[in-house]
Chain length 298, copies 2
């Protein structure tokens, strides 16, 4: 059924009647289409579901194009990003075209669905801004971090689930919670993987997030555990290239204070809550998607 | 009545509940608010008109933020642009927040109005892309140029007029044509001013558009008039810094072939058509706005 979403995206893009632009858009990697997948699982593959899923995936693609410019990211899903291939300006412009076409099509969708989806885009734009702003200083405010990843990552997954529930006449609140929990856990796990996955070049974690100024959940918990002189030491390493010994110090401290376990536990408990909701609702497919997220890369 | 639009924009921004973002947005110069002015002139100042005008002005502001990044423009309306003040990334992010908030509010507006406005945003995004793509080569296709400036500049002015006509229960087609003609003429005049206005530093026209690769209407007409060896000469000067003698050659040729007059005449005839439409409709205020555009800076 995901192929119907792909076809619908192609149709939306083709209706712009700009072959050269369609060609650039066709080069954007499709990704896992998690949001569309969730929608079809919740609401089936009727036309309005496919339309809304296509719109949400176009919005997601547009946001990634802009994020990669903002984060100076040159790869995305293991291949060169659009800004790396065609420059930042093209990435901004293609993003704007995808966003505006998605909104144009959203006007024809159920009004409640349109409100939910457009609100999520506001949230994700604000979230991206906060992510950048927070990385400019050493931020260890857990609440601010959770709000930011909710806005940046979870809001659109939450909106996809809620929109599908509206279209299927199911309970909005349950699916909304499911999507939100999955989204927040997804970002938490992503942030943990940055610390526990070996970089290909280094053979050990590169701690990229911390180097870029992003003090994700493990760093927030680590800061809470450190002695006051160690706190200063960690702060002094923030947002700059790390020496080998600095990297090792951070990894040792993270391990000493079992911070990764704590962060994982927090992500998993969100996923567990999502699984329980789906068990009660008899949603085997959605349960399986949540279970799979736990297995992701550990 | 324009102050109602300003207040509405402030309210929309305040409802994001992000004071720091509101502060950045407040620093964007308001400009002439041409689109809002036209709307109020056409449809009065009822709530739905003010709402739609505020939405359209937010969209316009967002598009300028992104355009200035794409065009490497460091001033806007005589003051430092947002990208110059806060960097390209902030300009992209603030633009995305304004766009998405505008679309979120658009969902609550009349469906036909929402369709007209969102279609214009698609057009202006495509127009901006074409403007950049066309400047990369020596383009002297008049049709392509007119289509591009229609999309880039006129589409949103056209949409503002048409949206106001819908809200006021007036004839959509007449106001649509009025807005489109005004918008195309506005851009043509802008392009002419780049050639006839003295630059502050040089004391004569800097021909910035041509240096940036933009072959606007006067260059298209000039190319048609030149001998074939002169055609090659002009082409060879495209999209690079010009020497003093090259600048003088271009200005002399433009003058010899009365190309500026021809381009002005074309812009003025669009405005005349707009004026006639408004005379027939008994719209004195809109007639005056069109008349004023002719006087703009010549």
């Amino acid at each position: 059924m995901l192929s119907s979403v792909e076809r619908r995206i192609e149709q939306f893009v083709a209706s712009l009647e700009e072959p050269e632009i369609a060609e650039s858009i066709a080069k954007i990697p499709a990704g896992k289409r998690l949001r569309a997948r969730l929608m079809i699982e919740i609401a089936g593959s009727g036309q309005s579901v496919i339309d809304t899923a296509a719109i949400i995936e176009m919005i997601h693609a547009a946001s990634l194009l802009h994020d990669d410019v903002i984060d100076d990211a040159f790869t995305r899903r293991g291949v060169a990003s659009i800004n790396a291939l065609y420059g930042n300006k093209s990435a901004i412009m293609i993003g704007d075209i995808l966003y505006s076409k998605a909104f144009y099509e959203l006007v024809d969708i159920d009004r409640f669905v349109a409100k939910v989806v457009s609100n999520a885009v506001v949230q994700l734009s604000i979230g991206e801004r906060k992510d950048v702003a927070m990385s400019e200083h050493f931020s260890v405010d857990r609440e601010a971090y959770i709000t930011m990843i909710y806005q940046k990552t979870a809001a659109l997954i939450e909106a996809a689930s809620e929109a599908a529930a509206i279209l299927a006449g199911k309970d909005r609140e349950i699916y909304r919670t499911y999507g939100r929990n999955l989204g927040i856990a997804f970002q938490m796990i992503d942030d943990i993987l940055d610390i526990v996955s070996d970089s290909q070049t280094l053979g050990k974690p590169a701690l990229n997030d911390f180097v870029e100024g992003k003090t994700t959940l493990p760093y927030i918990y680590l800061y809470q555990e450190l002695e006051s002189d160690e706190k200063e030491q960690l702060k002094a390493m923030h947002r700059r290239q790390l020496s080998k010994s600095e990297q090792e110090w951070i990894l040792a401290k993270l391990s000493e204070h079992k911070v990764i376990e704590r962060a994982k536990k927090e992500a998993f408990s969100l996923i567990e809550e999502a699984i329980e909701l789906m068990q009660k609702a008899g949603e085997k497919g959605l349960e399986a998607i949540a279970v799979k997220m736990v297995d992701r890369s550990f």
